[in-house]
């Protein structure tokens, strides 16, 4: 490609570096990978350390924003990535499932007084069910139609919550119970609160750390599950559907069933995060579930590199962290966020850490933006030439 773009060199360099890392990773033996996984988890657990706070978040409490928005966005993005990145279904109403999870926790917790862990299980079930209910009629649609229907559903859920006084109307629900605490937790005779100064299972209002650990645990479980799915028959079916739904159907992939499965899995992940978030934040109201949140999570997925898990997590981290980090710019941060999204899509539409497959597609010029992108390939090649004659 004859790029005239001055940033192209930098971009290609970054791409080559990414490829090198990827190759290295593929040739890494199993035990080394496990060491790295453990190191990553330990790193994630140590992340809320006070020593990082001044660099990472000078304006707000680091441990707090690590739970929301950063951690929350990461888990939601992983969930949305199953739907958008893997199965290729454009979902603009993902926040609906997060809301269903949140409201499940709030309602069951305040009305029936169930235990958090029980609600978590039930909440995930409810969300999977709502994913199926929403998916069954709509998943016969494709592309943009699906996008707009999911957007409609997201708004229906929010407005219905706002208009229904039985579930608090616009004021939402207060007094959501925390998860049951285990105080003075000790392992192998080491009392955690004495040694580390944190009680890892004491869920109160004051300390965010325990919730963050819970979130890391949730994220790890979700990542393991999603990775397993991706490498299984299910993941291959999703990839086939994403690339060419008709061809997949002809090859004998029951596309509808797999799309429904992707929707249900995505919904459960979003719902689990909703339950956890509601349990921490005590009160929820319909305004927590605006369309902007769906858009932001989708932006995180695409920005990071749709379909590639590390990329998606990086994208979610940046989308959540940058506006908090630059709170000094105050009101202007959303303005800048918008501009950055546009700039990023112009200069790197495949995302920061794209999956290899996506990158290859882009270079071929296929998989493009509607007819003009796909059928009239190459930017500087034909269109201009023909048009100028």
């Amino acid at each position: 490609m004859n790029q005239k773009n001055p940033l192209a060199g930098f971009r290609d360099g970054l791409g080559r570096f990414g490829d090198a890392v990827h190759d290295r990773w593929l040739s890494t033996p199993g035990w080394q990978r496990w060491v790295l996984y453990v190191l990553l988890i330990v790193g994630a657990l140590l992340l809320p350390s006070e020593s990082l706070a001044p660099i990472m978040s000078p304006y707000t409490d680091w441990a707090t924003i690590l739970f929301f928005p950063i951690g929350t966005y990461v888990v939601l993005a992983i969930g949305l990535n199953v739907v958008v990145g893997q199965a290729g279904l454009l979902d603009l109403g993902f926040v609906a499932f997060y809301a269903v999870g949140g409201y499940a926790m709030a309602l069951i917790g305040t009305r029936l007084g169930w235990n958090f862990w029980l609600i978590l299980v039930v909440g995930i079930g409810i969300c999977a069910l709502s994913g199926l209910t929403l998916g069954a009629p709509t998943l016969r649609l494709r592309g943009d139609y699906l996008a707009i229907v999911t957007l409609g559903f997201g708004e229906i859920i929010r407005i219905t919550a706002r208009n229904t006084d039985e579930i608090g109307g616009p004021n939402g629900i207060r007094g959501i119970p925390h998860p049951p605490s285990i105080e003075d937790f000790s392992l192998f005779g080491v009392n955690f609160s004495e040694v580390f100064g944190v009680d890892p299972f004491k869920y109160g209002n004051l300390n965010t750390h325990p919730y963050y650990y819970l979130l890391v645990a949730l994220a790890v479980i979700v990542i393991i599950l999603v990775k397993r799915w991706e490498k299984s028959r299910v993941g291959r079916a999703w990839a086939a559907i994403r690339e060419d739904e008709d061809a997949a159907e002809v090859m004998g992939v029951p596309t509808f069933r797999f799309k429904l499965l992707a929707f249900a899995i995505g919904a459960s992940i979003g719902g689990a995060m909703g339950v956890l978030w509601a349990a921490k934040s005590i009160s929820i109201n319909p305004n927590d579930f605006q369309f902007l949140l769906s858009a932001t999570i989708l932006a995180a997925v695409v920005m990071g590199g749709s379909g590639n898990l590390p990329g998606v997590m990086l994208g979610a981290f940046l989308v959540a962290w940058l506006p908090e980090r630059f709170r000094g710019l105050q009101e202007y941060r959303m303005l800048i966020f918008g501009a950055v999204l546009v700039a990023l899509m112009i200069f790197r539409p495949e995302g920061l850490l794209p999956s290899r497959q996506r990158k290859a597609e882009l270079q071929e010029g296929t998989g493009g933006m509607g007819t003009l992108g796909a059928e009239v390939p190459g930017p500087d090649s034909q269109v201009e030439e023909v048009a100028s004659k």
Binding site: G338, G368, V383
Partner: protein, 322 residues
């Protein structure tokens, strides 16, 4: 219940037509861009929002604060529509140039275009909330809340249908919208540009081979769609008399619903879809209360997509007769 419906049928019809006309005008922008590029121009809602502010500029600059009559009224209203068109069309062109064309040239995915549009949408909203409203309209502390338009015309009763008054501004909005539709229909079906637009929608590759300048056609599409959104902005402002930086979101989604309802890519479909949506929404509000208005229109959207995804008139800009 039924009594309510009978009592409120005519007011709801008039309201529905006025609402629907505005939806239809915005829907045209979605439908045209979708027809040509197969792309949901998500930032179109902001094009509409900027149209309302463009129109707001006219009474603001002239310092109007009491109702006008005669020539002055006509002049101001026409100026408002033109200003709205100018602001919106300019925004739409800028959007195409900055947020879409580079992506199109690289053959980026539709998802990337969607994110770019969402980014542009956030940017424009914040730009108006933070800079334009406080600086241009001198409202430093009230910038984020609603901006009211002084009453332009006496809202006198023009005539009445079965005892229910029909106001002059409502009739004006409906007539103006229909006038714009007819003009647009003629433009797309009879002019050279229109032929280029239809050709590109049908088969871009062949259109290029036949000597159609695709970039120009895409630009024109955005220009025309933006202009229509500008008219919608001015009409909205005249009938609602206030606007805010967030006004585009709901109207944008509704207008998109209208476009899908009528059959996306189909110009006459946008008109039919807009009017239908406006009417059904207002009739539904009689039964369920106006709180549920939005839920009603989204439910309609979902139902239409499930049972007749090509919309009432079917999708296609290319088949809009040669």
């Amino acid at each position: 219940m039924l009594n309510d419906f009978i009592n409120q049928f005519w007011p709801a019809t008039i309201d529905g037509l006025a609402f629907g006309s505005i939806y239809a005008l915005i829907a045209l922008g979605y439908t045209m861009v979708y027809g040509v590029l197969r792309l949901i121009n998500f930032a179109h809602s902001e094009v509409f929002m900027i149209g309302t502010f463009g129109a707001m500029l006219v009474p603001f600059v002239f310092g109007i604060n009491s109702p006008l009559t005669g020539i002055a009224l006509v002049g101001v209203v026409v100026a408002m529509i033109l200003a709205g068109m100018l602001a919106s069309a300019g925004t739409a062109i800028a959007l195409e140039r900055i947020a879409y064309r580079p992506l199109r040239k690289r053959g980026a995915s539709r998802l990337a275009a969607l994110i770019s549009a969402i980014g542009a949408s956030i940017f424009l909203q914040e730009l108006f909330a933070l800079l334009v409203i406080p600086e241009v309209f001198n409202r430093p502390e009230q910038g984020r809340i609603q901006m009211a338009l002084p009453r332009l015309m006496e809202r006198s009763e023009l005539f009445s249908i079965f005892g229910h008054p029909v106001r002059i501004d409502q009739i004006f909005v409906i007539l103006a919208a229909i006038g714009m539709m007819i003009a647009l229909d003629a433009l797309v079906n009879r002019s050279k540009i229109g032929r280029g637009i239809r050709a590109t929608a049908q088969n871009p590759e062949a259109a290029v081979l036949m000597g159609v300048d695709i970039n120009r056609i895409v630009r024109m599409t955005f220009l025309i769609g933006g202009g229509m959104a500008g008219v919608a902005g001015a009409l909205y402002l005249i009938s609602y008399e206030n606007t805010h930086y967030f006004v585009g979101f709901l109207f944008g989604i509704k207008a998109f619903t209208a476009a899908v309802l009528g059959g996306i890519g189909n110009l006459r479909g946008a008109l039919v879809g807009g009017i239908t949506l406006g009417l059904v929404e207002n009739y539904g509000a009689i039964f369920f209360g106006s709180d549920w208005k939005h839920v009603i229109s989204f439910t309609i959207l979902v139902l239409v997509l499930m049972f007749r995804p090509t919309g009432i008139l079917g999708e296609s800009l290319q088949q809009a007769r040669a």
